[in-house]
């Protein structure tokens, strides 16, 4: 009837409990789990927490960035070194949600949520999973492809710091300043001699999970960021996407406006506001 709450000082122990306890769910910021608890989701019998300081650790060393899974959007906004991620963190909920919402939780947020996960995808992030028997690393998109909430426990994410001015982000939403995504686009666009090399583009809300726009990435390789240069990428912008209808917008509209917003993002056109 009443839920049991188990708090562990060490993340590994939390991971162990998570795999052993029946109906156990890991509580990070609570934005997803507490709502389910409030709605008496019968699949939740035990809440597992961890006070492990590693969870909230932000590691910045020699171009490599490591974010504990429990780092909140507010913590990211407070870190000047992560300014390129501020536009992403700033539009996740209102201030109160950003105080709670965590990096790890966002990796498991169903569409239309999960814009931060999409940004991490464009940063080629890897994920470190905590397990009862030690940790293991895997690429983020692997996790996103087979994410089953509650089963895996993320300890941290890591990625190489993008070169200044190479990371771009847009979230299309109807309600301002706080609205769920119609879609979001994150892009890392390294340039060498004015030409794109090793672009990474990721979409939010264009499929069951955040996804890489690999065809567009390939089409950008060696191209310049002007109308002619990006045309091939726009032509294949839809590759791999499978948007669905939901309460805030239809799959048709998502498909229609995806290349428009991708073009605006790649050309650096002002995205002042989207209805």
């Amino acid at each position: 009837m009443s839920i049991s709450v188990k708090t562990f000082p060490r993340l590994a122990d939390a991971a162990g409990a998570l795999s052993q306890e029946r109906g156990a769910r890991f509580l990070a910021g609570g934005t997803l789990v507490m709502r389910s608890v409030n709605e008496a989701d019968p699949s939740i019998e035990t809440i597992v927490r961890s006070t492990d300081p590693a969870l909230t650790h932000i590691g910045l060393s020699s171009g490599r960035v490591e974010l504990g899974a429990g780092v909140t959007m507010a913590a990211i906004l407070a870190e000047r070194e992560l300014s390129y991620l501020h536009p992403v963190a700033r539009i996740i909920g209102g201030p109160a949600v950003r105080e709670a919402a965590t990096v790890g939780g966002n990796l498991f947020a169903p569409p239309p949520y999960g814009d931060f996960a999409a940004a991490l995808l464009a940063l080629d992030a890897t994920v470190t999973l905590a397990g009862g028997f030690g940790q293991r690393e895997l690429p983020l998109d692997e996790l996103l492809n087979r994410r089953e909430r509650g089963q895996t426990l993320v300890a941290s994410v890591a990625f190489r710091r993008p070169a200044d001015g190479t990371f771009r982000f847009v979230k299309v939403t109807r309600v301002h300043p706080k609205g769920a995504a119609i879609l979001s686009i994150s892009a890392q666009l390294p340039l060498s001699n004015g030409r794109v090399s090793g672009a990474r583009i990721a979409y939010g809300a264009m499929g069951p999970a955040p996804l890489r726009a690999k065809a567009a990435e390939r089409a950008l390789e060696g191209r310049t960021l002007d109308a002619a240069g990006i045309a091939p990428a726009l032509a294949v912008a839809h590759d791999g996407t499978s948007p669905t209808d939901n309460a805030i917008g239809s799959a048709w509209w998502r498909r229609e406006i995806l290349p428009i917003h991708l073009r605006r993002l790649l050309l650096g056109e002002q995205n002042v506001r989207h209805s």
Binding site: H176, K178, G179, I260, H274
Partner: protein
């Protein structure tokens, strides 16, 4: 990418009170022994300001300061019947009932004062500051407090009043629809300016200019609350809201405030409002009721502004960017009307 601006207008009227009438409201007003008044109602304050507007009406009618009146609502044991807070009836119906009750209480108050001052009640007037004085001889006056004490403890009078207001129920002719739907109407004209993104269908409302005729504005701040908030709701109805996004299909219904779309604080626009007052012959101090009608003109004004901007008509609410984009594609692109 191209953004196009346009302006649209709508003019509307709105009936005050329940259609066909037959919707009574009652009020009781009484003084405590020291001249402070209580209004007992069963009417509801949903935020529209029922307690505040009836309080001002009562104070005006009694001729006492508003601070000396308190409105107690809603308790079915102490508050007499009221049909309810809907159909823009509160100010008009309940306000009238409070006026009637306050007049009856005032008559007793003036009799009691006359007895104390040994003059004819007809020679007395209230100063609106808490005293009753002889017309033309202001030095001969007595405080409402002393009158209440005298009425209660010496004269054995109850300074109280009962009020009811009822617009008789109208029949409807089944063949012609002949009927008396309402006794007075509020009016409005609203001009909306929008910007339309012809690549995404996004619509932003940039500015609203409106004129509302609402009978007497009993409290300009409460009127402003209604008109500003109502116009926001109108904008929301025009562009955002529905619990059935694929109506008449019932799928994908929103379950929370992330999925149920309404303009946020970042979507509001400047709104110049002008208020006109043509008193309603049967309204309390000529008041009508701005509560409902203020949202209505925004919907068509926005739709007409979109046509003016990009030349497409969206005849289905809400006017989502998707509908605008579909219409633009069907029409083969933007065909702006005369710039206004």
């Amino acid at each position: 990418m191209a953004k196009h601006r346009g302006r649209g207008v709508a003019t509307i009227n709105y009936p005050i009170g329940m259609n066909l009438g037959g919707d009574p409201s009652q009020a009781l007003v009484h003084s405590n022994p020291t001249g402070k008044f209580t209004v007992a109602l069963s009417s509801i304050d949903l935020g529209q300001g029922m307690k505040s507007v009836t309080r001002q009406i009562c104070a005006e009618t009694l001729g006492v300061p508003v601070e000396d009146v308190y409105v107690d609502t809603a308790d079915s044991d102490t508050g007499p019947h009221c049909m309810g807070s809907f159909a823009s009836r509160g100010t008009h119906r309940v306000g009238n009932a409070v006026m009637v009750a306050a007049r009856e209480a005032r008559a007793v108050m003036m009799e009691a004062a006359a007895e104390e001052l040994e003059v004819d009640p007809g020679d007395l007037e209230t100063d609106g500051k808490g005293s009753i004085r002889v017309k033309g001889a202001p030095h001969r006056s007595i405080s409402v407090r002393d009158v209440a004490i005298a009425a209660q403890f010496r004269q054995g009078k109850t300074i109280s009043g009962r009020g009811i207001f009822l617009v008789p129920l109208s029949d409807v002719d089944p063949e012609t629809g002949e009927m008396s739907p309402a006794t007075c109407y509020a009016h409005a004209c609203l001009i909306a300016e929008v910007e339309v993104d012809d690549e995404t269908g996004d619509v932003a409302v940039l500015k609203m200019t409106s004129a509302y005729e609402i009978g007497r504005a009993l409290n300009p701040k409460l009127v402003e609350q209604q008109l500003v908030g109502g116009a926001w709701m109108g904008m929301s109805h025009a562009l955002y809201e529905t619990p059935e996004p694929y109506y008449p299909d019932t799928r994908e219904g929103p379950r929370d405030f992330n999925e149920y779309l309404m303009p946020g604080p970042g979507d509001v626009c400047p709104h110049d409002i002008i208020v006109l007052e043509r008193p309603a012959p049967d309204g309390p101090y000529g008041a009508k009721g701005p509560g409902e009608m203020c949202a209505n003109p925004v919907l068509p004004a926005v739709a007409n502004a979109i046509f003016n901007a990009v030349g497409v008509r969206i005849d289905e609410l809400p006017i989502t960017p998707e509908k605008v984009l579909r219409a633009l594609k069907a029409r083969g692109g933007v065909q702006p009307a005369r710039v206004r």
